[in-house]
């Protein structure tokens, strides 16, 4: 774990920052030299190295955009789900029910093929369609993680904040949300890592991401072991780096020193 690399005397914040920065640098570095690295490998990887690298970039990009949108969507849905207004709760529950109860592949196909038929003129390009479907999907799962966090913050925290005369927004943003987010972080990270892998389903609507690249090369060269192994290892590399970043964030919020 990267967090453990830094000197003992550094503060929590310094260690967290150092980890964040180095994990981000590693990620950019890994993506930029992935093509070069793979080109040293024997056939059929070497000659297709740039295609692999481009696929990996698309996968990561797809994940980052959908992950960010999904986090916003998830937070909003969690708030709606715990809102005072009954209609809002109902809408959020319906959204979560519908998304969690249907396969992601169906959702991706639906956004790409059925949405233009339902709403004339809404012809999303393949990448955008994948982003919409993936965000909606991860948003539903995120909302339950965030809701779990919100419910886990003791009632006394809100009461103390209100008793101090803090307004509703301050009670939420200064007291409740930071603590809820900390609790929700591990499941949110799980969702994010799952998203990175699930983004491979965008393959079905022709997004040229990592899995798609691997499968194309595999079927063109008849060398499934080498190509699919490369795909798998690249996913592992990406998820490992993502986990380092999330560990750094988790470490930063862990003022009680409970994360070992």
């Amino acid at each position: 774990m990267l967090v453990a690399l830094w000197p003992e005397r550094w503060s929590r914040q310094q260690r967290s920052n150092a980890t964040l920065v180095s994990a981000l640098v590693l990620m950019v570095l890994a993506l930029s030299v992935l093509g070069q690295l793979l080109s040293f490998l024997p056939e059929p990887i070497g000659s297709n190295a740039q295609a692999f690298a481009a696929g990996a970039r698309t996968t990561l990009w797809l994940t980052l955009v959908s992950g960010t949108l999904g986090l916003l969507l998830g937070t909003c849905a969690a708030l709606a789900r715990t809102a005072r207004w009954r209609a809002l709760r109902w809408v959020a529950s319906f959204y979560i029910w519908a998304i969690r109860g249907t396969p992601l592949l169906v959702q991706i196909l639906f956004v790409y093929f059925a949405l233009p038929a339902l709403v004339p003129g809404l012809n999303l390009p393949d990448f955008a369609a994948a982003v919409v479907a993936l965000s909606l999907n991860v948003g539903a799962y995120n909302s339950e993680s965030v809701r779990a966090g919100l419910l886990a913050v003791p009632r006394g925290q809100t009461e103390a904040a209100r008793a101090l005369g803090l307004g509703r927004l301050h009670v939420f943003f200064d007291v409740v949300f930071p603590q809820a987010f900390k609790i929700a972080l591990p499941p949110l990270v799980s969702n994010f890592v799952a998203l990175l892998k699930d983004s491979s389903l965008a393959y079905a609507i022709g997004v040229v991401e990592l899995t798609n690249v691997g499968n194309r090369i595999q079927s063109a060269t008849f060398q499934p072991i080498a190509t699919l192994s490369t795909v798998a290892v690249t996913y592992l590399l990406l998820t490992t780096l993502v986990t380092q970043i999330s560990n750094a964030i988790e470490y930063r919020f862990d003022v009680e020193g409970r994360v070992k």
Binding site: E159, R162, L164
Partner: protein, 247 residues
């Protein structure tokens, strides 16, 4: 003594949780500069009255006024009233993700828009008063229960409240930590702070209170100065209660 002024007035306050009526027609008033101790068995409505005063627990009927202004759901008024009414909880309720200093400065910075440097300086003065200035940069979990409760008192004082409500402030503490919290409260009372204290600490009530209220089944069963209350119990029920509390 100059003529006491009623700061908080409760008039025929009722409150039920479902079928259980916790406050039955409670009428009383709390004067400026007075220390009122509320005692009574658990479930007798003491805490509920305290929580109704700053509307953490809205009452069903009757009225509560603070300086003549009724406590209601009107957000702007309520927030202003809550700034004037400091509250200390049984479970401390310090914000676990904030340092001791940030716990104290949060409300002044957000509500009064005090600059951080000034808020910190004021917080340090308060921390010195409760004897915890060396712990300013620690987090709540690093402190003992007694220390946490003293931070909670400092946090409430940071808004310069006109009255302090204490909801069983020592009930969650180990016996050896009770004194350090009572000392801070005693110091506050000596400084002229208006206080309403729900507690089981009979010694504190005897020594510090100007007035003792005895709650029984949602009603104020007795209201007397501590000397009369403890020296000459009004009825057997109070006598039995005092006996059980070992005072």
């Amino acid at each position: 003594m100059s003529t006491p002024q009623a700061f908080i007035v409760a008039d025929h306050v009722c409150k039920s949780f479902g079928a259980h009526q916790v406050l039955c027609d409670v009428s009383t008033h709390f004067n400026t500069g007075e220390v009122t101790v509320i005692i009574g068995a658990s479930g007798s409505g003491k805490s509920t009255l305290l929580r109704a005063i700053n509307r953490l627990e809205p009452h069903d009927s009757g009225s509560i006024t603070i300086e003549g202004v009724p406590v209601s759901d009107d957000i702007a008024t309520l927030q202003k009233q809550r700034c004037d009414v400091g509250m200390v909880f049984q479970q401390f309720n310090l914000f676990g993700h904030l340092s001791v200093l940030d716990n104290i400065t949060l409300a002044p910075r957000r509500v009064r828009h005090t600059a951080r440097a000034q808020a910190n300086a004021e917080a340090m003065v308060l921390l010195r008063r409760v004897g915890l200035h060396e712990h300013a940069h620690k987090y709540p979990w690093q402190l003992s229960g007694g220390q946490q409760q003293r931070v909670a008192i400092a946090r409430a004082l940071a808004m310069n409240p006109k009255v302090m409500l204490f909801d069983e402030p020592t009930s969650a503490l180990d016996p050896e930590m009770v004194q350090e919290v009572l000392d801070v409260m005693r110091e506050l009372a000596r400084g002229g702070m208006t206080m309403i204290v729900v507690t089981h600490e009979m010694g504190f009530a005897r020594e510090v209170a100007d007035r003792v209220l005895f709650f029984d089944q949602g009603r104020i069963a007795h209201d007397a100065p501590p000397d009369a209350f403890f020296g000459n119990p009004a009825n057997d029920r109070i006598r039995a209660f005092i006996g059980r509390m070992g005072a």
